[in-house]
Subunit: 205 residues, 6 copies
């Protein structure tokens, strides 16, 4: 199988993080191609950034029909509806996929994302997908997307605090990490908190 992953922001290091996470869970026979959008915002936080990254996303998907499926590597599922109008191949958003996966392993899950301004778009997606009744809360860690990668950042610690709150206040049985840039925190946080902490590129144990 041949999968195209497109990062709709223009930050290549984030594409690399996602690509590595995807490879680590793919079976041997799956080929993964990861592309970065060539124009548009460097990170996507809220509706404004989303709107401006769709044309770059669609441009990056120009050869999508050569693949068995495409994955949009932005937790807001930026441009998902537009991309689906652009190709007959299945297109999956990582937010949408994570919500469905969490629903299969937990009665209710909470989301921990970056900035508060991303929360309405995530809640709105949950309603659209039909899964808001499964979500026990959407929490902001107040870390900007690009700070997730900054050396010396306390990002993981702050995300961990929100997970703690989600377990005790929301009674969450699983956590969905609400940003593609958090892909490499999942395993450690899952281990630390004793419940599944997931993105679609993580193995749930």
């Amino acid at each position: 199988m041949n999968i195209l992953i497109v990062n709709p922001n223009t930050t290549r290091s984030m594409t690399s993080t996602v690509e590595a996470a995807a490879r680590s869970v793919a079976s041997a026979s799956t080929e993964i191609t990861a592309l970065t959008s060539k124009f548009g915002p460097v990170s996507i936080e809220g509706y404004f950034d989303e709107a401006f990254s769709v044309p770059g996303l669609i441009a990056a998907m120009k050869d999508v029909d050569h693949y068995d499926a495409a994955i949009i590597a932005c937790f807001d599922d930026t441009g998902l509806d537009a991309a689906r109008c652009h190709t007959e191949s299945p297109v999956i958003g990582i937010g949408e996929a994570a919500f469905h996966m969490a629903s299969l392993i937990a009665g209710q899950f909470s989301v921990v994302t970056t900035l508060r301004r991303s929360v309405p778009a995530i809640k709105h997606n949950l309603t659209k997908y039909g899964l808001s009744s499964r979500c026990s809360g959407v929490r902001a860690s107040e870390i900007a997307v690009l700070d997730l990668e900054r050396p010396g950042s306390d990002a993981q610690a702050r995300i961990s605090e929100e997970i703690e709150q989600a377990i005790h206040h929301d009674r969450a049985e699983a956590i969905v990490l609400g940003c593609a840039g958090m892909a490499d925190f999942a395993e450690a946080l899952s281990h630390k908190h004793g419940i599944p902490v997931l993105m679609i590129f993580t193995v749930v144990r």
Copy 2:
């Protein structure tokens, strides 16, 4: 009061139709400026067109802060969330406004729009706004946006047929016309069918 209307597609004749409709209901002291997007799709039918018209819409709104409010003249409320991130002024979508107005004058209303491919986006907006319980149906007349203006088009007759169905099958008490290009049909159809047929630029009698 000073209102900016932006047509997010690039078809100037549609801007003129909307502008005339707006002036006909505005009070004497209200100034209306109507602008047309300079790049992007010539009409907006479904998610793909929507995505590609937002950058042109935002560009056309560059002086929005000089106005008391802005109106996006596309029934899909294209770019509404992004535009609201762009300015402190109130921004209103004509779809959203029409749904709220219809809710004030009718127990339930049906929508008659252009092509079937626009239906999911409209239904999704109704859910997002909280008003799907007020909507008794979203019907497609299967007339393309640009055919609404074509001389000799049977557009009005086909819309009228769908209104008939909406009244008898959906038990609609009001009709919302689901495309800015239908603005000048509202009065005649309202008269013909004996229930309010409205857009936000029509006087409901």
Copy 3:
């Protein structure tokens, strides 16, 4: 345009407050007539008062057909369904209208009303109108309607405290004042809290 406002309680000073608020936002060409119900409760707080004020309301609306539209100046939308059966003219409740207006300018809004016993009727209206998903909370300030006008009352301070709670706990982006008698607090509270605090007779800036 010719608008009839009816206060369904028998307290004339409250009619005057509402009338002044309405005139301050109406355009020059709009004529406003404000009438007070001649029999029934002096204030409307909960279902019992509501039921007993409808006959007086309908009596006060006996000439409603001479007007372009009527407004029922009670936040509970007392008698709205009955009034709509009584006339072909549009009849608008100030509660209903405020909920729709707040939905156009905010992702979610909270309501601050008078006594706790009014809360169920307001929540029930939100459900009926389809807008409960847009409302982040209905809060009681525990001030009786008639105390809103009492000289030396701390009404505004207590309403302000609830607004503070609504902003921080509910994450409200706008506040709807839940009693016609609060009409003249809106502007000051909006200024103080930095988010729109509204009734239908206020200009949102």
Copy 4:
């Protein structure tokens, strides 16, 4: 036990029908007192009649505290909220009670009522009570309340036709008769259609 039944319209023959139905299902030790409202509409069809019958209803309930419970014998549950504010005794509406009873014996039920103009109030009550997901349809037989008692009326036949539709189109597993005046049709219709046809004063077999 000592139960007060109040008919909120002024038609005594309807009170008698309801009283007989109630006695036929009450246990030997239950005393039933049935009163008729002394002023207000002769029948209640829609919101306008409802509003004008509440004062008469409350007047008729002046001794409600001498009873163990009160029943409002109007399917619209006219004045139920107001009556509950008036007394500490339990007050039950026959519409509400029938919806709950039907939910205990059927996966989904349909309602067959009198005129179309009563439908919105019934649907609205179902939403308020939380039971709309249990209701497969609200159907109007287009028989006025007072025609239910008219000798030679084809009322039962027309109700029967709607029950037939409800079984085949709505897949209703039980029928709720939507008017107190239909109390004495329940047994025959239940027998004829082979599914429970009920009001709260009928024995479901």
Copy 5:
């Protein structure tokens, strides 16, 4: 009338508690037969116990057709759907019946049950019955079913604490006791807290 009560767990003392409670509210002419399941779990706390008690429940109901109705005396309504497939007689679950009864006497009610692991099944039932909008909270007292009967247990005190929370935090207007084994606490708790505390075998005053 002839009613069969079946306790789907194998603990006879619990059947006796329920039987006594049922008799205390039944009219003189009602005969009550209470049976205990002969095989399966000794108490039912969560989905696993539920699944294993259904065969014993159905076996205990082998003569159900000799009765006018059957009651399943487990708050989770264990095996209710299966029992309804087994007989034409009405079968009522005590959880379901209590939710409907509470809805008739209170705008919103909270449930106080035994262990946290029973909460999801109760919430799920509320959704299925359509009544989640009427429920203001499901609270666990963290007392195991069999400890309810243990001499010297502080069960009633801990349930009382949760009722206190439900009144103040959930704004519950009535409490539903979420385990058949709590049947004999209802009257005292209702008296203590001043709001109805109920199961279907209690008289609400």
Copy 6:
């Protein structure tokens, strides 16, 4: 990866159909073990059969902890909650998984199942999972489970007719086959109708 599939009915030929379907989509490195329940109903159609197959299902899962995950091969997700209480390993129901998968590739999907008596359980599951808003209809083909395998059966033709209805009346964009025994019809029906027809053991193209 090591996956356990358990058929909760006792019909071995159905286990073989499911096992073959599963192997055809599994990657080379995935080991599949398929077991048949040793006691309980021969097929599962509705709530009664479900209840009696759970003990056999749990017995068949006695070694579940040796596997990476378990799949319950019954479209009703029989015993899913109980099985999840029985093990720490992920347990997936094929109904639940198919609903989530269909949601990822279609705006709305319809289900085509066997007998009408299975419909309520399927609708109830959709509500529980949160996905009823994604489902455009649950249709019965009126073919009993065991007739699916009978030589000369017109099962596929009758399912195909319902798919036709689902496409035209429900506007379904994908079809979920509502019985494990239909596993080998998926590819042909998908090809014939031109939209995805799926179970979790089919490759969607």
